[in-house]
């Protein structure tokens, strides 16, 4: 059995396939490039936040992961198989942002119907308990609040007992209480060892619930690390300099640099020790015109993920 797996998994993998493997995935709609070459590997058991502003390509990437659309180039695999196969086997399920519910069914009927579609599924009563829906089991979906509907989507996603759960901005439009309740349910579920990927544009959600944060902007991954690393990255200062001919690899090797970006002749270096970086640039490289900017977390996040003029490829 393991032999079968080894032939499909990359050789450096141990004995199990990654939950998610995106290799050079790009997706265009006409002339619009929604995703521009994402490489991402998520190991089983990770809780990963896909963080970025609206229009960063988060939903497009999620559609690719779920087999709802096909990449223009690159490959998408879940547990070493095609997304559609993973869906059919109940290995992956998702909580989408809006829609996807029939208003004329009750909560319990919706779950019973969805459960019937899988070869094997958890009891509707059990997922209702976990999603906190038992008291509204007989309520028509159309009469449920937004938060209850979102917990119903979550309960539906739990039915096949998936190894990978994908949440697309699951708390959009919820008030603070509903948001807290929703995350409490997710967090409790995550303790069972499921791999979870959630898209969000709230930095605090990524920070509070993810082990790993992948920052996306304009269809590309701009940062990937633990929540603490990404926060440090965001919390530090940015050293901006004119540095013709600098390469990203070279810049990343400068002591203290934890993120860098090259835009033509201008380089942006993120660091929690900006003094050391500035000293290095001025003494050991031809860089000039230095500027050092301090930022709050939110500002830094915005800067990392915001649209910049002139960096279109």
């Amino acid at each position: 059995m393991t032999t079968t797996l080894d032939t499909t998994a990359p050789s450096r993998m141990r004995h199990r396939a990654p939950a998610i493997s995106l290799r050079g995935v790009a997706k265009s709609f006409g002339s619009v490039e929604a995703v521009r070459g994402i490489d991402l590997e998520v190991q089983q058991g990770e809780i990963i936040a896909f963080l970025g502003p609206n229009g960063a390509g988060k939903t497009t990437t999620i559609d690719l992961l779920l087999g709802l659309s096909r990449p223009s180039s690159g490959s998408v695999e879940l547990f070493g198989t095609a997304p559609r196969t993973a869906v059919e086997q109940g290995l992956v399920s998702a909580v989408m942002q809006t829609g996807g519910l029939l208003k004329d069914l009750t909560v319990e009927e919706t779950l019973r119907l969805t459960a019937s579609l899988f070869a094997s599924a958890t009891e509707p009563a059990e997922v209702m308990r976990r999603a906190g829906l038992l008291e509204v089991a007989d309520r028509r979906v159309g009469a449920c609040s937004g938060g209850q509907q979102q917990r119903l989507r979550f309960a539906m996603a739990l039915l096949p007992d998936p190894d990978l759960l994908i949440l697309d901005e699951p708390t959009t439009g919820m008030d603070v209480t509903a948001r807290r309740e929703f995350w409490a349910a997710i967090r409790e579920d995550a303790e069972r060892g499921r791999t979870i990927l959630f898209a969000t544009h709230y930095l605090e959600e990524a920070d509070a619930y993810a082990d790993r944060v992948v920052l996306v902007r304009k269809g590309e991954v701009v940062a990937d690390g633990t929540a603490a690393e990404v926060k440090a990255l965001a919390a530090g200062r940015t050293v901006r300099a004119t540095f013709p001919g600098a390469s990203a690899e070279e810049l990343a090797r400068i002591p203290g640099v934890d993120g860098c970006e090259v835009r033509g002749d201008t380089v942006l270096l993120h660091s929690s020790d900006s003094d050391a970086v500035a000293r290095h640039l001025l003494t050991a490289t031809p860089a000039r015109d230095l500027e050092i900017e301090a930022r709050g977390i939110e500002d830094a996040f915005l800067a990392l993920t915001a649209d910049h003029d002139g960096d279109d490829q």
Binding site: M1, T4, L5, V87, G90, L91, M96, G99
Partner: protein, 282 residues
Amino acid sequence: MTASTTTTATTTTATTTTDKGTPGSEAGHRRATPALGGLNTTLLAIELRRVLRNRRTLVFTLAMPAVFFLIFGVGAEYAGKDAGRGNVSAFIMISMAAYGAMIATTSSGAAVATERALGWSRQLRLTPLRPAAYVAVKIATAMVLGAVSVVVVYVLGALTSADMDGIGLWVSTALVAWAGAVVFAAFGLFMGYLLPSENVMQVLGPVLAVLAFGGGLFMPLEEGSTLATIAEFTPMYGIAKLAHAPLTGDSVQWTWVLNVVAWAVVFTVGAAWRMRRDTARV
């Protein structure tokens, strides 16, 4: 997907879970894909319940044909008039039953428009349910509702003035009226995938009424008239003729059968084309 790929994938992932010791690993159950592309009786039962819960559907598919029959088909005038192997009351009963069945199947098929608008179709694509199985459920639901519609009108006919020579005619006319309605299940699906609206039946209701009059379902058209000639090319013509044939004693003509088959092909191809476009992974 072929059987062999399924097996390989199943083996692979089963190994993964066993090693992992995380949710569901003890059972190792969910590596299988469902039989029949997800088609099952729970799905069918809940779909039927949804249809029967929809008041508007019930009014248009069950109440309206029944009321039309009581208004236009009951009374001494119709009961006394001969229509071949029965009376005119029976003729109108068959017409209304066929009409009710066609409204029922069209509206069940067209329900996909609402489900697309609500994002339910997309949600179903996150389950193992295959599009073909989904369509099969829609057609099955349509035919059950169509059968109820036929039975309601026939029971009313039997209780009032409809008369036919023998139970065989009751059964055969009812079966043809019901079976013919499957063509309109395809029509409903086609329109449901074609039209963006959530209220497709508001458009299709009047269309069906026009087709029923134009196809000579409600009343026979004058032989040789221009209308009668046009009628032969409309989608209810063949079904109307075939359903009434056992009663009138007219011998079945190949043009009637051709009419039904041709429209069945047109609607099925149309529905398949739109459905493929709708479920395509872009």
